[in-house]
Symmetry: C2
Subunit: 931 residues, 2 copies
């Protein structure tokens, strides 16, 4: 259906393209069009709750404005018409001198977003209407208080004047008057304050405070539109992966007044405890105040419970409405309300934010209450929340309170002596001391110190700062942007609110909450982690233990076991519904056993190079320095029994489950000393006399093997094709271990995986050698253990030629670390410090592609390889063993791409299980958003 251009403004089509919508016209499903605030106001309006009348200017209007630089044609007329309706409904006129209509203008994007213009109240007041408002309300003080609020908010948020100027004027007035609260100011004081505020506006903006009410509305709307693109808003969106092209809506609502005396007030409330998820009454109330005062902390609020004594009627109504809202939203709601002379008005509601523990408890509780089903409960928790719950925690019984808070950048609980630079950190670490590196911000120079430290604390920067990015990469506890503290490098100390901390003093840093404590707080293992590792949560424990919640801990006073039981319950459901299997990356029997306890159904990546370290390094040196095949064979012969024992142990730990063993991958020279260090050692020795002959020989070998870009050098399958006997030794060790396990009555299921294949020819050549060794061992042992041979897909070319590779590979496993490196052309080692922070800051990435899979580039290669690999070999088993296998958002991609399993570090196995379950219920539901 198409319509001619210039269609009449009153046709339904025109109406569908309207930019302004009455609250009564919308619903909570229309967040994209009306923003979260507008959609929920519409929902409440249609539920019959007491919402002041008003309308929403849609995100479409904002997008138009931002793209074109001016309001869409017709918007002014629409706003006119809707204001006229509002005036009619309230029986007041905007800008009138007598009984004027005042409105609030509030932003409201699809996702809640700090950094955007929030709210301007009392719009419509001007010099000529203050008296009229005073007359109508019978409260002259209220009228002047409203006017000074308007000028202050308008000046700050619409005109962009430093808010501190207005605050200073207010403080001065209170000081002059000798009162502590703004309630102590009288009519005259407020009248003078208005004059001062107007002077500030005149001075700073070069114009008078606008006296035209309609102009005030238009300017406020435009300011909301423009606040979508402030640096802070953009930075926030990048961090939270919110698209930049959504735009914000604007809500215009008739004012109701919480500042009309002691029978008025304003408050916020939660339908249950957002920290624990427990039902109950949670909130704050402030008498004789308008909205901002509650959050601004100008006066002390009272607990919401006290409202029952102040105004039982409103309290009871609020309780009824809150129960109604939670029943309707089937979730924790948070609420803003105002009471105007005993009449309750609802100003906002939304599904409330919550802690990780609360998310799990609440989801399980709502299932118990019959409000939601298990699928929905699963959709309401995230792998990231589960990961938080698995970190060790500070013992809450310590009673110590934090002296500063920053942005929680990398979770964990770290305790140590404060150091202020890298050298000190390294020195103390070398002495066995645990240290916390405290810096204003970090740079690549601080890397040694960050490595040496147990935790990192900075006074500047956000979640994408250098410290945050690097610490997350290292898995170090990190809090950034703790703006309360001031570092004095000269005097080797920092100060925080009421504390002074010197170098060497012990502090405790909570990377999960952002809190910083003085002294040492005991760290306790996470009860969720303990339970997950016990295997009682999911499939592993199901058979052994019977029904859910059977054994062990009863819900205790601190609610810990409530979380444990909730996690256990949701994990079981995730295991029931997920299609994707979860394997683990593990190189030792201990790690393999741990992974199995965590619910892994196999080893997806058993690296063999880790088995060449320590004592065995000398055999590898022999191998590299060998000058004949005989010497080489001797080194390999020494390694064979050691490797066989390695594999026997792992196959035993994973008996009955697949163990994918990757042939040696890194360049052999990684087993040799560093070139620069050795060259310096030899040069210095030469100065002093004569260098050691062994060192000289080694230096020669190191020089010979040195590569400019080892990541792109002689490694992976290339090693196997160039170093005679190396692959044969490893394959023989695997096969002989399998034979040994079979003879011992076990069910070994080893698989051999060839790394870094770029073309089918490489794999063909190596398979010929592998198959010969397998046949040889089989014949010698008289035992037939089937051993599949497959390949990693970790180079773009492997993905692009996967159809041909699948004719030779019996399985695929994506190595997403290398695939990301080569697809993007940057190495993880080299770039994280050098430019990732800048890239995150500028928005090139919303998140490091080494953390969350780059679906557009790397993901496209994966999709090509899956489709063409399976076309060539139907039923081809495909997994992923890069670190993305444990990343929540990536797991969903792998599920939808049709992979058979993800493999991740043992500790990530529960997260991957949960996310695989969530992916299953999300796919079936058709998409849900947990932001």
């Amino acid at each position: 259906m198409s319509h001619p251009a210039g269609v009449s403004p009153d046709t339904p089509d025109r109406a569908a393209r309207a930019f302004v919508h009455e609250f009564s016209e919308g619903s909570k499903e229309q967040k994209r069009l009306l923003g979260g605030k507008g959609a929920n106001l519409a929902e409440m309006t249609n539920l019959g709750l007491p919402v002041p009348p008003g309308f929403t200017i849609s995100t479409e209007a904002c997008r138009y404005y931002l793209a074109e630089g001016h309001e869409p044609p017709g918007l002014a007329d629409e706003v006119d018409r809707h204001l006229a309706r509002l005036e009619a409904e309230r029986g007041k006129r905007l800008g009138a001198r007598e009984d004027p209509l005042l409105v609030s203008v509030r932003s409201g994007a699809m996702y809640s977003m700090p950094g955007m213009m929030d709210t301007v109240l009392d719009i419509g007041l001007h010099d000529g209407s203050v008296a009229g408002l005073a007359a109508e309300s019978g409260d002259e003080r209220f009228a002047w208080d409203s006017y000074r609020r308007l000028i202050q908010m308008f000046g700050k948020t619409v005109l962009g004047i430093d808010g501190g100027l207005f605050d200073a004027a207010l403080d001065r007035a209170k000081r002059d008057r000798g009162v502590r609260s703004d309630l102590g100011l009288g009519v005259e004081d407020l009248r003078e304050l208005v004059a001062e505020h107007k002077a500030i506006v005149r001075d700073r903006s070069g114009r008078e405070f606008p006296q035209d009410a309609r102009e005030q509305v238009d300017m406020a709307v435009r300011a909301v539109f423009e606040s979508w693109n402030t640096d802070r808003a953009r930075a926030y969106r990048r961090q939270e992966r919110i698209p930049h092209d959504l735009g914000t809506a604007v809500n215009v609502m008739a004012m109701v007044y919480g500042n009309l005396g002691p029978d008025s007030g304003t408050g916020v409330a939660f339908t249950r405890d957002p920290a624990t998820g427990r039902p109950g009454v949670y909130g704050d109330y402030l008498r004789d105040a308008q909205g901002e005062d509650v959050v601004a902390g100008i006066r002390n609020t009272v607990p919401l419970q006290e409202l029952e004594d102040i105004d039982k009627h409103s309290y009871d109504e609020l309780m009824r409405i809150m129960a109604r809202l939670e029943g309707h939203y089937k979730d924790l709601c948070d609420i803003e309300f105002t009471i105007e002379r005993g009449k309750l008005w609802m100003l906002q509601t939304r599904v409330g934010k919550r802690t990780a523990a609360a998310a799990f408890r609440m989801a399980a509780q709502l299932v118990d209450d019959g409000v939601i089903d298990l699928d929905e409960a699963l959709r309401r928790v995230t792998g990231a929340q589960l990961a938080q719950l698995m970190f060790p925690q500070f013992d809450r019984r310590s009673g110590i309170t934090a002296f500063a808070h920053g942005v929680p950048a990398s979770p964990g609980a770290a305790v140590g002596a404060v150091v202020f630079d890298s050298a000190e950190a390294v020195a103390r670490d070398a002495d066995g001391e645990r240290v916390i590196l405290v810096r204003q911000e970090t740079s690549p120079d601080d890397l040694p110190g960050m490595l040496a430290a147990d935790g990192i604390l900075t006074s500047r920067g956000g979640k994408t700062s250098h410290a945050a990015v690097v610490a997350r990469g290292m898995g170090k506890t990190c809090v950034v942007g703790a703006e309360d503290i001031a570092i004095d490098l000269e005097r080797r100390r920092f100060t925080g609110p009421g504390v002074e901390v010197g170098e060497g003093d012990v502090i405790s840093v909570d990377g999960t909450t952002g809190a910083v404590y003085r002294g040492e707080i005991a760290v306790v293992p996470s009860p969720v982690m303990r339970d997950l590792e016990s295997g009682r949560d999911g499939e592993a424990g199901r058979g052994a233990e019977g029904a859910a919640g059977g054994a062990g801990e009863e819900p205790g006073a601190d609610g810990e076991s409530g979380v444990v039981h909730a996690v256990r319950r949701l994990m079981r459901h995730a295991d029931d519904v997920r299609r994707l299997a979860v394997h683990a990356n593990a190189d030792t029997p201990e790690d393999a056993a741990r992974a199995r306890r965590f619910g892994a159904h196999g080893i997806g990546l058993c690296r063999t190079e880790h088995m060449f370290l320590g004592e065995r390094r000398r055999y590898v040196e022999d191998l590299i320095l060998a000058e004949s095949q005989q010497q080489r064979d001797k080194a390999l012969e020494a390694l064979l029994p050691l490797q066989r024992d390695d594999f026997t142990g792992i196959l035993e730990a994973m008996d009955g489950l697949p163990v994918t063993i990757r042939l040696i991958d890194p360049p052999l020279h990684e087993f040799l000393p560093d070139l620069t260090g050795l060259a310096v050692k030899v040069a210095v020795a030469r100065e002093r006399g004569a260098p050691d002959a062994g060192d000289l020989r080694l230096l020669q070998a190191v020089r010979k093997q040195h590569e400019q870009n080892p990541m792109l050098g002689l490694r992976g399958v290339r090693l196997g094709l160039v170093v005679p006997g190396l692959v044969a030794m490893q394959v023989r060790a695997v096969a002989e271990a399998a034979v040994a396990r079979t003879r011992a009555g076990g069910t070994p299921r080893p698989e051999i995986m060839v790394p870094l294949v770029g073309g089918v020819e490489e794999l063909e050549l190596l398979r010929t050698e592998i198959d010969a060794v397998l046949a040889d061992v089989r014949a010698a042992a008289g035992v037939d253990v089937p051993i599949a041979v497959g390949t990693m897909i970790e180079l773009p070319r492997a993905a692009l030629t996967a159809g041909r590779i699948a004719t030779v590979a019996e399985f695929f496993s994506f190595g997403t670390n290398d695939l990301t490196q080569t697809t993007w052309g940057f190495s993880r080692d080299d770039v994280e410090g050098a430019f990732f922070p800048a890239y995150l800051d500028k928005g090139v990435f919303t998140v490091s592609p080494f953390e969350a899979l780059d679906e557009e580039g790397v993901g496209r290669l994966i999709e090509i390889a899956v489709a063409e690999g399976r076309a060539a070999r139907p039923g081809l088993v495909i997994g992923v063993c890069g670190e993305h296998g444990g990343d929540p958002s990536s797991v969903r991609f792998f599920d939808q791409a049709g992979l058979d399993y993800v493999s991740c570090s043992p500790y990530r196995v529960p997260v991957a299980r949960l996310e695989a379950g969530r992916s299953a219920v999300t796919a079936s539901e058709g998409g849900s958003d947990t932001r």
Copy 2:
């Protein structure tokens, strides 16, 4: 149409699936089915030329045999039937004691291929039939000579016995008899020799020489099939990029005898001179001999001209036939023939191999003769041949003859003192001496010596050996596998046929022909190169000079100008027909001017980092070491006027043509000293007292900037986004240079190209900065020079997201070096020495993907980027500026992929022009093969 299985053997369908074809059933177009030899025998048969009757067993039968391990069912019957026809036609029976039918069995693949079993003559003789052959021919000596030949050839090629054993027996017989030629052996000698040969067969193969004629045929056929897969054959195919799955045909032909006395003989002939292309009589003849004797050099042949005196009738007929063949094939043919008692028989013909010079001359000559058109002439020459003609050559007037020949591995003419190891090469090179590195074979240890040497000579290895691969990569003259020479490292000398060469002696090495000369031969520039650089060959010269061949050199005695004119003519046609434009990679005004003379229509890649070397390095050091933006700006300000002058010069040299300037690409630390060297210097200085403060500071900076994998580090667009002011300086320099040129009356056409983009976000950010600078310069100058901004596509992710990138990039240029590195995950620097030789040897590559584009992997990314880039921005200009832009086979791929231009080094411009033309006429013709 489909037929039920088990169709009757006599239906046409069955016939179509026959494995055996009479010569009269085929044609020269059926090389894939019948092999080259069989198809041409069929063609000659149908032309009515005197070809002995016979039949061809098809390549299909071979493929079946190799796949299944046995002959296809029914093949034996088919061979029976065709042998019966042959018997009927010749009136003789195979294996009969009286007047036996003898046949030859010869291999014949689609492409001529050394390394496969070639020929067994005289099949059908056995103890019982020698007398019959003697009686029928009236020549007992002939019969026994044929029998000893059969046993010798059969033993060697079918039974795999060392041929030297038979040769030794023959030599012994000649020695015993005191004769120098086999013609001196009598019947008894030959009878004894047969007994000895049979004993060799018995000893070595463990079986008697087969006495059943039909068994001889079957064994020979099977041996031909199996010879397809010998190591040598496989290696040859890899080198020549011939598919491994073609298989070979087998030709069975009735014997005609050149060894029936002085009125018999055998010879080879060319229809014109394969070295120059000049028409005439070229060939060799050997009386009283069978085929192999001519090539084996057992006796001395006579020039073909002498046949006119020996047997005028046969000679005249041969001349008529050769004229007929050349007219029919419209090309140089080479021929094998036999004269049996005055009767001429044609045994083989094919389009003959030729030198590069002959290829051009002949193609032009055939156009003049009206035999072929210019399109066809273009199809008959290659860019590789043109490249050969462009190298300097040894002065042919020197009269010195080569003392050894090897495989020509990397073209050029090199003269220098012989050295036997890397250290000596480096030392003499440092003293300003030119050296030739002579090694048995080379390894990565020899790289410094190879770099220092002017030429490389090895006594072992083929075109894919380490020396060959690395030398080609370096562009060094190289001859490998000169098996005539023996190197004595102890005594620092090598010996060749009749010469002894010591270290320091001067030799001359011709990388184009493989010849090695004693002493210094003068090197003369290539006349073709001189002419191409003059611009007289193509478009550049067309306007200035008028009609073809107008000026300069007349054809001289040495035929040089004939080649020059032929090249000029074909280049002009290539320019007329090609769709693809040819640009050049050039960084200096001199290179730009040269490229223009060579016919480049623009600069496709102007690298700017080369402009930071020498004196300017210190500004880059300042830039890197800067500790504040102020210091950084100062360094950039110093660079700005220098860069501006660079660009002004290049824009002047290329006035009116596009100049694509790439922003700085390599990591900045490449401008700093090497870490290891500097660390050693500082450590040694510290030992001796105190290190230099500047060195210490530099070392700190080098350590800080050090990257594990600089190829994957802070370079390209990343630099631009991280180093403030760097891009702005370069863009300003470009824009101001353009303004200066415009004011000087020029027509500058600069374009700005951003390297190493992986995502559109990077380009967006940098474009904002670039556009601002361009606007700024435009406003300040009041001159509007349009400057397009585009990007390189050199990372897999750029290709995979090309659709989005094209929304911001005004042009694309593929950087195929980096794209190959990242697609395959290996760096050119690191892997060429380390594993490419092994990979080429094992057949993973047929050619280095850095030489010829990897169409399957890298090519697929290019196709994706072209399609999706053009979909997003119709008409998007797309080129390639990696080194593949000058590679003959890759140029064709780029043309067919729809690129607008290729850009290559100035010297490669003519090659690219020619190949672009060939691609145009090949595409229109539907595929031609020049192998």
